[in-house]
Amino acid sequence: MKTVSLKLLTIIADEALQRRLIEDIKKLGAKGYTLEKAYGEGDSGGRISQWEGENIRLEMLASAELAEKILDKISRDYFDRYSIIAYLCDAQVLRGEKFL
Protein backbone atom coordinates (compact mmCIF):
# COMPACT_ATOMS: atom_id res chain seq x y z
CA MET A 1 0.00 0.00 0.00
CA LYS A 2 1.20 3.45 -0.81
CA THR A 3 1.22 5.54 2.31
CA VAL A 4 2.40 9.06 3.14
CA SER A 5 4.38 10.05 6.23
CA LEU A 6 2.45 12.59 8.25
CA LYS A 7 2.23 13.83 11.81
CA LEU A 8 -0.54 12.70 14.12
CA LEU A 9 -1.16 15.63 16.45
CA THR A 10 -3.14 14.97 19.63
CA ILE A 11 -4.51 17.70 21.89
CA ILE A 12 -6.14 17.03 25.25
CA ALA A 13 -8.04 19.96 26.73
CA ASP A 14 -11.02 21.08 28.73
CA GLU A 15 -14.25 20.54 26.83
CA ALA A 16 -15.03 24.21 27.35
CA LEU A 17 -12.30 25.02 24.85
CA GLN A 18 -13.70 22.80 22.10
CA ARG A 19 -15.34 25.46 19.98
CA ARG A 20 -12.39 27.80 20.20
CA LEU A 21 -9.76 25.16 19.45
CA ILE A 22 -11.62 23.92 16.41
CA GLU A 23 -12.02 27.45 15.07
CA ASP A 24 -8.29 27.99 15.58
CA ILE A 25 -7.11 24.86 13.81
CA LYS A 26 -9.46 25.49 10.91
CA LYS A 27 -8.12 29.01 10.55
CA LEU A 28 -4.59 27.62 10.42
CA GLY A 29 -5.59 25.38 7.54
CA ALA A 30 -6.63 22.03 8.99
CA LYS A 31 -9.21 20.34 6.80
CA GLY A 32 -10.30 17.67 9.23
CA TYR A 33 -10.07 16.37 12.74
CA THR A 34 -11.41 13.58 14.92
CA LEU A 35 -12.77 14.21 18.37
CA GLU A 36 -13.48 11.99 21.35
CA LYS A 37 -14.68 12.58 24.87
CA ALA A 38 -12.13 11.81 27.53
CA TYR A 39 -11.65 11.96 31.25
CA GLY A 40 -8.38 12.57 32.99
CA GLU A 41 -6.28 13.74 35.87
CA GLY A 42 -3.29 16.02 35.90
CA ASP A 43 -1.74 18.97 37.68
CA SER A 44 -5.00 20.88 37.64
CA GLY A 45 -6.89 18.10 39.42
CA GLY A 46 -9.34 15.57 38.09
CA ARG A 47 -11.64 16.04 35.17
CA ILE A 48 -13.64 12.95 35.77
CA SER A 49 -17.23 14.16 35.54
CA GLN A 50 -19.27 16.98 34.13
CA TRP A 51 -19.23 18.65 37.52
CA GLU A 52 -15.51 19.26 37.15
CA GLY A 53 -15.66 19.52 33.41
CA GLU A 54 -14.61 16.83 30.98
CA ASN A 55 -11.80 16.65 28.48
CA ILE A 56 -11.81 16.37 24.75
CA ARG A 57 -9.19 14.47 22.81
CA LEU A 58 -8.64 16.11 19.44
CA GLU A 59 -6.67 14.21 16.82
CA MET A 60 -5.40 15.53 13.54
CA LEU A 61 -3.40 14.10 10.70
CA ALA A 62 -1.36 16.95 9.34
CA SER A 63 1.84 17.82 7.54
CA ALA A 64 4.80 18.50 9.84
CA GLU A 65 4.52 22.13 8.89
CA LEU A 66 0.84 22.54 9.74
CA ALA A 67 1.31 20.59 12.95
CA GLU A 68 4.08 22.98 13.90
CA LYS A 69 1.87 25.98 13.25
CA ILE A 70 -0.92 24.57 15.39
CA LEU A 71 1.44 23.75 18.25
CA ASP A 72 2.79 27.28 18.05
CA LYS A 73 -0.63 28.82 18.27
CA ILE A 74 -1.66 26.62 21.18
CA SER A 75 1.40 27.33 23.23
CA ARG A 76 0.99 31.04 22.63
CA ASP A 77 -2.72 31.38 23.34
CA TYR A 78 -3.54 28.64 25.79
CA PHE A 79 -0.57 27.34 27.72
CA ASP A 80 -0.26 30.05 30.31
CA ARG A 81 -3.95 30.22 31.16
CA TYR A 82 -5.46 26.82 30.50
CA SER A 83 -4.37 23.32 31.31
CA ILE A 84 -3.97 21.60 27.99
CA ILE A 85 -1.48 19.11 26.60
CA ALA A 86 -0.37 18.35 23.07
CA TYR A 87 1.94 15.85 21.40
CA LEU A 88 3.00 14.50 18.01
CA CYS A 89 3.46 10.95 16.74
CA ASP A 90 4.58 9.71 13.35
CA ALA A 91 1.98 8.08 11.15
CA GLN A 92 1.93 6.36 7.79
CA VAL A 93 -1.30 7.48 6.21
CA LEU A 94 -3.30 5.87 3.45
CA ARG A 95 -4.67 8.29 0.88
CA GLY A 96 -2.31 10.72 2.58
CA GLU A 97 -2.34 13.32 -0.20
CA LYS A 98 -5.76 14.37 0.94
CA PHE A 99 -4.31 15.77 4.16
CA LEU A 100 -1.61 17.85 2.50
Binding site: D14, A16, S44, G45, S49, Q50, W51, E52, G53, E54, R76, D77, Y78, D80, R81, Y82, S83
Partner: protein, 346 residues
Protein backbone atom coordinates in the same frame (compact mmCIF):
# COMPACT_ATOMS: atom_id res chain seq x y z
CA UNK B 1 -43.46 22.59 64.88
CA UNK B 2 -39.79 23.22 64.14
CA UNK B 3 -39.38 19.52 64.78
CA UNK B 4 -42.02 18.84 62.18
CA UNK B 5 -40.12 20.90 59.63
CA UNK B 6 -36.92 19.08 60.48
CA UNK B 7 -38.63 15.73 60.13
CA UNK B 8 -40.17 16.71 56.82
CA UNK B 9 -36.76 17.72 55.59
CA UNK B 10 -34.80 14.76 56.89
CA UNK B 11 -37.24 12.05 55.92
CA UNK B 12 -37.44 13.16 52.33
CA UNK B 13 -36.39 10.43 49.90
CA UNK B 14 -34.43 13.11 48.02
CA UNK B 15 -32.25 13.99 51.00
CA UNK B 16 -31.75 10.34 51.87
CA UNK B 17 -30.79 9.55 48.29
CA UNK B 18 -28.12 12.23 48.59
CA UNK B 19 -26.85 10.64 51.80
CA UNK B 20 -26.80 7.24 50.10
CA UNK B 21 -24.65 8.70 47.36
CA UNK B 22 -22.10 9.82 49.92
CA UNK B 23 -22.19 6.43 51.64
CA UNK B 24 -21.66 4.73 48.28
CA UNK B 25 -18.50 6.72 47.65
CA UNK B 26 -17.24 6.01 51.14
CA UNK B 27 -17.75 2.30 50.46
CA UNK B 28 -15.89 2.62 47.14
CA UNK B 29 -18.98 1.44 45.35
CA UNK B 30 -18.82 0.88 41.60
CA UNK B 31 -22.12 2.74 41.30
CA UNK B 32 -21.57 5.43 38.68
CA UNK B 33 -23.98 7.68 36.88
CA UNK B 34 -23.22 7.98 33.19
CA UNK B 35 -22.38 11.61 32.39
CA UNK B 36 -25.15 11.60 29.83
CA UNK B 37 -27.69 10.71 32.49
CA UNK B 38 -26.47 13.59 34.61
CA UNK B 39 -26.82 15.95 31.66
CA UNK B 40 -30.27 14.63 30.88
CA UNK B 41 -31.40 15.07 34.49
CA UNK B 42 -30.04 18.62 34.55
CA UNK B 43 -31.87 19.51 31.35
CA UNK B 44 -35.05 18.01 32.71
CA UNK B 45 -34.88 19.88 36.03
CA UNK B 46 -34.14 23.25 34.43
CA UNK B 47 -36.94 22.90 31.89
CA UNK B 48 -39.43 21.70 34.48
CA UNK B 49 -38.62 24.57 36.83
CA UNK B 50 -38.67 27.14 34.04
CA UNK B 51 -41.88 26.02 32.39
CA UNK B 52 -43.92 25.87 35.56
CA UNK B 53 -42.55 29.19 36.74
CA UNK B 54 -43.40 30.76 33.41
CA UNK B 55 -46.93 29.47 33.54
CA UNK B 56 -47.36 30.81 37.07
CA UNK B 57 -45.84 34.12 36.05
CA UNK B 58 -48.39 34.36 33.23
CA UNK B 59 -51.14 34.45 35.85
CA UNK B 60 -49.35 36.84 38.25
CA UNK B 61 -50.02 40.59 38.15
CA UNK B 62 -46.89 42.55 37.35
CA UNK B 63 -47.18 44.59 40.55
CA UNK B 64 -46.86 41.46 42.65
CA UNK B 65 -43.69 40.33 40.93
CA UNK B 66 -41.74 43.54 40.62
CA UNK B 67 -40.59 44.03 44.22
CA UNK B 68 -39.49 40.44 44.78
CA UNK B 69 -37.69 40.67 41.44
CA UNK B 70 -35.83 43.76 42.61
CA UNK B 71 -34.96 42.08 45.89
CA UNK B 72 -33.54 39.12 43.98
CA UNK B 73 -31.48 41.41 41.78
CA UNK B 74 -30.06 43.28 44.78
CA UNK B 75 -29.10 39.99 46.42
CA UNK B 76 -27.43 38.82 43.23
CA UNK B 77 -25.28 41.95 43.09
CA UNK B 78 -24.48 42.47 46.75
CA UNK B 79 -23.61 38.92 47.80
CA UNK B 80 -20.68 38.39 45.40
CA UNK B 81 -19.15 41.76 46.31
CA UNK B 82 -18.99 41.23 50.01
CA UNK B 83 -18.17 37.53 49.62
CA UNK B 84 -15.21 38.53 47.45
CA UNK B 85 -13.88 40.96 50.05
CA UNK B 86 -14.16 38.40 52.84
CA UNK B 87 -12.42 35.72 50.81
CA UNK B 88 -9.62 38.05 49.74
CA UNK B 89 -9.00 39.76 53.05
CA UNK B 90 -9.93 37.24 55.69
CA UNK B 91 -9.49 34.07 53.67
CA UNK B 92 -6.23 35.17 52.04
CA UNK B 93 -7.28 33.71 48.71
CA UNK B 94 -5.79 35.25 45.58
CA UNK B 95 -7.89 37.39 43.26
CA UNK B 96 -8.96 34.66 40.86
CA UNK B 97 -9.97 32.21 43.55
CA UNK B 98 -11.77 34.85 45.61
CA UNK B 99 -13.72 35.96 42.58
CA UNK B 100 -14.56 32.42 41.50
CA UNK B 101 -15.84 31.41 44.93
CA UNK B 102 -17.78 34.66 45.23
CA UNK B 103 -19.39 33.99 41.85
CA UNK B 104 -20.56 30.60 43.10
CA UNK B 105 -22.10 31.96 46.30
CA UNK B 106 -23.74 34.89 44.57
CA UNK B 107 -25.35 32.69 41.97
CA UNK B 108 -27.90 30.02 42.80
CA UNK B 109 -28.46 26.28 42.72
CA UNK B 110 -31.49 25.00 40.83
CA UNK B 111 -31.40 21.69 42.67
CA UNK B 112 -31.40 23.33 46.09
CA UNK B 113 -34.32 25.36 44.79
CA UNK B 114 -36.09 22.19 43.69
CA UNK B 115 -35.56 20.65 47.08
CA UNK B 116 -36.89 23.83 48.75
CA UNK B 117 -40.03 23.57 46.65
CA UNK B 118 -40.43 19.90 47.59
CA UNK B 119 -39.87 20.81 51.25
CA UNK B 120 -42.66 23.35 51.18
CA UNK B 121 -45.10 21.16 49.27
CA UNK B 122 -44.40 18.45 51.74
CA UNK B 123 -44.80 20.73 54.68
CA UNK B 124 -48.22 21.62 53.38
CA UNK B 125 -49.19 17.95 53.21
CA UNK B 126 -47.91 17.47 56.77
CA UNK B 127 -49.84 20.48 58.02
CA UNK B 128 -53.02 19.34 56.36
CA UNK B 129 -52.61 15.84 57.74
CA UNK B 130 -52.39 17.30 61.21
CA UNK B 131 -55.32 19.57 60.69
CA UNK B 132 -57.38 18.97 57.56
CA UNK B 133 -59.57 22.03 58.23
CA UNK B 134 -56.68 24.45 57.90
CA UNK B 135 -57.59 27.44 55.75
CA UNK B 136 -55.45 28.75 52.90
CA UNK B 137 -54.70 31.77 55.09
CA UNK B 138 -53.54 29.65 58.01
CA UNK B 139 -51.42 27.55 55.68
CA UNK B 140 -49.79 30.69 54.38
CA UNK B 141 -48.96 31.87 57.87
CA UNK B 142 -47.46 28.48 58.68
CA UNK B 143 -45.26 28.56 55.59
CA UNK B 144 -47.19 25.90 53.68
CA UNK B 145 -47.63 27.96 50.50
CA UNK B 146 -45.38 30.12 48.39
CA UNK B 147 -45.65 32.30 45.31
CA UNK B 148 -45.73 30.33 42.08
CA UNK B 149 -43.38 32.73 40.32
CA UNK B 150 -40.36 31.76 42.42
CA UNK B 151 -38.57 30.23 39.40
CA UNK B 152 -38.57 33.75 38.01
CA UNK B 153 -36.45 34.84 40.98
CA UNK B 154 -34.17 31.87 40.53
CA UNK B 155 -33.62 32.96 36.95
CA UNK B 156 -32.95 36.56 37.92
CA UNK B 157 -30.37 35.53 40.50
CA UNK B 158 -28.49 33.15 38.30
CA UNK B 159 -25.98 35.29 36.48
CA UNK B 160 -25.61 38.85 37.79
CA UNK B 161 -23.36 37.53 40.55
CA UNK B 162 -21.12 35.78 38.07
CA UNK B 163 -20.66 38.92 36.01
CA UNK B 164 -20.06 41.02 39.09
CA UNK B 165 -17.43 38.59 40.35
CA UNK B 166 -15.58 38.37 37.05
CA UNK B 167 -15.66 42.14 36.67
CA UNK B 168 -14.32 42.54 40.19
CA UNK B 169 -11.45 40.19 39.42
CA UNK B 170 -10.55 42.07 36.27
CA UNK B 171 -10.59 45.44 37.97
CA UNK B 172 -8.60 44.08 40.90
CA UNK B 173 -6.02 42.59 38.57
CA UNK B 174 -5.79 46.03 36.94
CA UNK B 175 -5.95 44.50 33.51
CA UNK B 176 -7.42 46.15 30.51
CA UNK B 177 -10.05 43.83 29.12
CA UNK B 178 -7.96 43.48 25.99
CA UNK B 179 -5.03 41.61 27.49
CA UNK B 180 -3.50 38.79 25.49
CA UNK B 181 -5.69 35.71 25.10
CA UNK B 182 -8.18 36.93 27.66
CA UNK B 183 -11.84 36.64 26.88
CA UNK B 184 -13.48 40.06 26.65
CA UNK B 185 -16.18 40.84 29.18
CA UNK B 186 -18.76 41.18 26.45
CA UNK B 187 -17.96 37.71 25.30
CA UNK B 188 -18.18 36.40 28.83
CA UNK B 189 -21.63 37.94 29.25
CA UNK B 190 -22.75 36.54 25.96
CA UNK B 191 -21.48 33.09 26.96
CA UNK B 192 -23.23 33.37 30.30
CA UNK B 193 -26.56 34.24 28.76
CA UNK B 194 -26.16 31.48 26.24
CA UNK B 195 -24.95 29.08 28.92
CA UNK B 196 -26.99 25.93 29.30
CA UNK B 197 -28.71 26.85 32.52
CA UNK B 198 -29.59 30.47 31.76
CA UNK B 199 -30.77 29.53 28.34
CA UNK B 200 -33.05 26.76 29.54
CA UNK B 201 -34.38 28.70 32.53
CA UNK B 202 -35.01 31.93 30.66
CA UNK B 203 -36.16 30.15 27.53
CA UNK B 204 -38.70 27.93 29.20
CA UNK B 205 -39.83 30.68 31.54
CA UNK B 206 -40.80 32.60 28.43
CA UNK B 207 -42.29 29.53 26.77
CA UNK B 208 -44.31 28.86 29.91
CA UNK B 209 -45.57 32.45 29.89
CA UNK B 210 -46.53 32.30 26.23
CA UNK B 211 -48.26 28.93 26.39
CA UNK B 212 -50.15 29.57 29.60
CA UNK B 213 -52.42 27.02 31.19
CA UNK B 214 -53.25 24.93 28.14
CA UNK B 215 -49.62 24.62 27.20
CA UNK B 216 -48.57 23.70 30.71
CA UNK B 217 -51.25 21.05 31.00
CA UNK B 218 -50.02 19.36 27.84
CA UNK B 219 -46.61 18.69 29.27
CA UNK B 220 -47.32 18.62 33.00
CA UNK B 221 -47.59 14.80 33.12
CA UNK B 222 -43.93 14.75 32.17
CA UNK B 223 -42.61 17.89 33.81
CA UNK B 224 -44.61 17.97 37.02
CA UNK B 225 -45.71 14.53 38.25
CA UNK B 226 -42.33 12.77 38.13
CA UNK B 227 -40.38 15.86 39.26
CA UNK B 228 -39.52 14.70 42.75
CA UNK B 229 -38.61 11.20 41.70
CA UNK B 230 -36.20 12.61 39.16
CA UNK B 231 -34.91 15.03 41.79
CA UNK B 232 -34.16 12.02 44.00
CA UNK B 233 -32.18 10.46 41.15
CA UNK B 234 -30.26 13.69 40.67
CA UNK B 235 -29.51 13.95 44.36
CA UNK B 236 -28.18 10.42 44.41
CA UNK B 237 -25.70 11.46 41.73
CA UNK B 238 -24.95 14.71 43.59
CA UNK B 239 -24.17 12.58 46.64
CA UNK B 240 -21.72 10.48 44.63
CA UNK B 241 -19.83 13.57 43.51
CA UNK B 242 -20.00 15.17 46.94
CA UNK B 243 -18.57 11.98 48.40
CA UNK B 244 -15.59 12.22 46.06
CA UNK B 245 -15.15 15.88 46.98
CA UNK B 246 -15.21 15.20 50.72
CA UNK B 247 -11.68 13.91 50.39
CA UNK B 248 -10.66 17.41 49.31
CA UNK B 249 -12.02 19.00 52.49
CA UNK B 250 -8.66 18.97 54.20
CA UNK B 251 -7.06 20.55 51.17
CA UNK B 252 -9.38 23.56 51.25
CA UNK B 253 -8.70 24.38 54.89
CA UNK B 254 -10.78 25.42 57.86
CA UNK B 255 -11.55 28.92 56.64
CA UNK B 256 -13.41 27.79 53.56
CA UNK B 257 -15.33 25.17 55.53
CA UNK B 258 -16.49 27.85 57.93
CA UNK B 259 -17.25 30.18 55.06
CA UNK B 260 -19.36 27.50 53.40
CA UNK B 261 -21.59 27.23 56.44
CA UNK B 262 -21.68 30.71 57.93
CA UNK B 263 -22.20 32.63 54.71
CA UNK B 264 -25.27 30.65 53.62
CA UNK B 265 -26.86 31.32 57.00
CA UNK B 266 -26.21 35.05 56.72
CA UNK B 267 -27.37 35.13 53.12
CA UNK B 268 -30.50 33.23 54.00
CA UNK B 269 -31.35 35.74 56.70
CA UNK B 270 -30.77 38.61 54.32
CA UNK B 271 -32.88 36.89 51.67
CA UNK B 272 -35.76 36.18 54.02
CA UNK B 273 -35.64 39.72 55.28
CA UNK B 274 -35.66 41.31 51.84
CA UNK B 275 -38.37 38.86 50.84
CA UNK B 276 -40.55 40.11 53.68
CA UNK B 277 -39.87 43.72 52.69
CA UNK B 278 -40.84 42.90 49.10
CA UNK B 279 -44.15 41.52 50.27
CA UNK B 280 -43.56 37.82 49.81
CA UNK B 281 -45.45 35.24 51.87
CA UNK B 282 -43.58 33.37 54.60
CA UNK B 283 -42.99 30.45 52.24
CA UNK B 284 -41.89 32.70 49.41
CA UNK B 285 -39.48 34.61 51.64
CA UNK B 286 -38.01 31.35 52.92
CA UNK B 287 -37.40 30.23 49.36
CA UNK B 288 -35.76 33.56 48.51
CA UNK B 289 -33.58 32.95 51.57
CA UNK B 290 -32.69 29.49 50.30
CA UNK B 291 -31.80 30.95 46.90
CA UNK B 292 -29.50 33.48 48.54
CA UNK B 293 -27.93 30.77 50.67
CA UNK B 294 -27.43 28.36 47.81
CA UNK B 295 -24.24 28.18 45.79
CA UNK B 296 -24.26 27.49 42.07
CA UNK B 297 -22.71 24.38 40.61
CA UNK B 298 -23.85 24.42 37.04
CA UNK B 299 -23.62 27.97 35.69
CA UNK B 300 -20.81 29.30 37.86
CA UNK B 301 -18.29 26.46 37.38
CA UNK B 302 -18.87 26.56 33.64
CA UNK B 303 -18.26 30.30 33.55
CA UNK B 304 -15.21 30.15 35.81
CA UNK B 305 -13.56 27.44 33.76
CA UNK B 306 -13.62 29.80 30.81
CA UNK B 307 -13.28 33.25 32.35
CA UNK B 308 -11.21 32.53 35.46
CA UNK B 309 -9.19 29.46 34.47
CA UNK B 310 -6.49 30.29 37.04
CA UNK B 311 -8.96 29.67 39.86
CA UNK B 312 -8.85 26.15 41.23
CA UNK B 313 -11.93 23.92 41.02
CA UNK B 314 -10.72 22.26 44.18
CA UNK B 315 -11.75 25.38 46.11
CA UNK B 316 -14.95 26.45 44.45
CA UNK B 317 -16.39 23.03 43.75
CA UNK B 318 -15.56 21.58 47.12
CA UNK B 319 -17.01 24.59 48.92
CA UNK B 320 -20.22 24.77 46.95
CA UNK B 321 -20.80 21.05 46.51
CA UNK B 322 -19.33 19.33 49.55
CA UNK B 323 -20.07 21.95 52.18
CA UNK B 324 -22.83 24.37 51.30
CA UNK B 325 -25.08 22.13 49.28
CA UNK B 326 -25.49 19.38 51.90
CA UNK B 327 -25.71 21.98 54.66
CA UNK B 328 -28.53 23.77 52.88
CA UNK B 329 -30.69 20.79 52.01
CA UNK B 330 -30.24 18.98 55.32
CA UNK B 331 -29.93 21.64 58.02
CA UNK B 332 -30.54 24.84 56.13
CA UNK B 333 -34.07 24.29 54.90
CA UNK B 334 -35.68 23.77 58.31
CA UNK B 335 -33.40 26.40 59.84
CA UNK B 336 -34.28 29.12 57.35
CA UNK B 337 -37.93 28.16 57.67
CA UNK B 338 -37.63 28.55 61.42
CA UNK B 339 -35.94 31.90 61.01
CA UNK B 340 -38.67 33.08 58.65
CA UNK B 341 -41.31 32.10 61.18
CA UNK B 342 -39.54 34.14 63.83
CA UNK B 343 -39.33 37.12 61.52
CA UNK B 344 -42.94 36.85 60.43
CA UNK B 345 -43.91 36.40 64.05
CA UNK B 346 -46.10 33.35 63.46
Amino acid sequence: MEIQALVVSLLSPMVLAFVLGIVATAMKSDLKFPEELYTALTIYLLIAIGLKGGYKLSITPFSEFIYPALAALVLGVVIPIWAYQILLRMGKFDIANSAAIAAHYGSVSAVTFGEAIAFHDNLKVALLEQNPQMTEEALKLAGGVYEGFMPGLLTIMEFPAIIVAILTARIAAGKSSKSNGETSLGKVMQELLAGKSSLLLIGFLIIGMICGKRGWEQVAPFFEAPFRGILALFLLEAGLVTGRRLGDLKKVGGFLIGFGIVMPILHAMLGVYLGKLAGLSLGGATILGVLSASASYIAAPAACRVALPQASPTYYLTASLAITFPFNIIVGLPLYHYFAKLLYGT
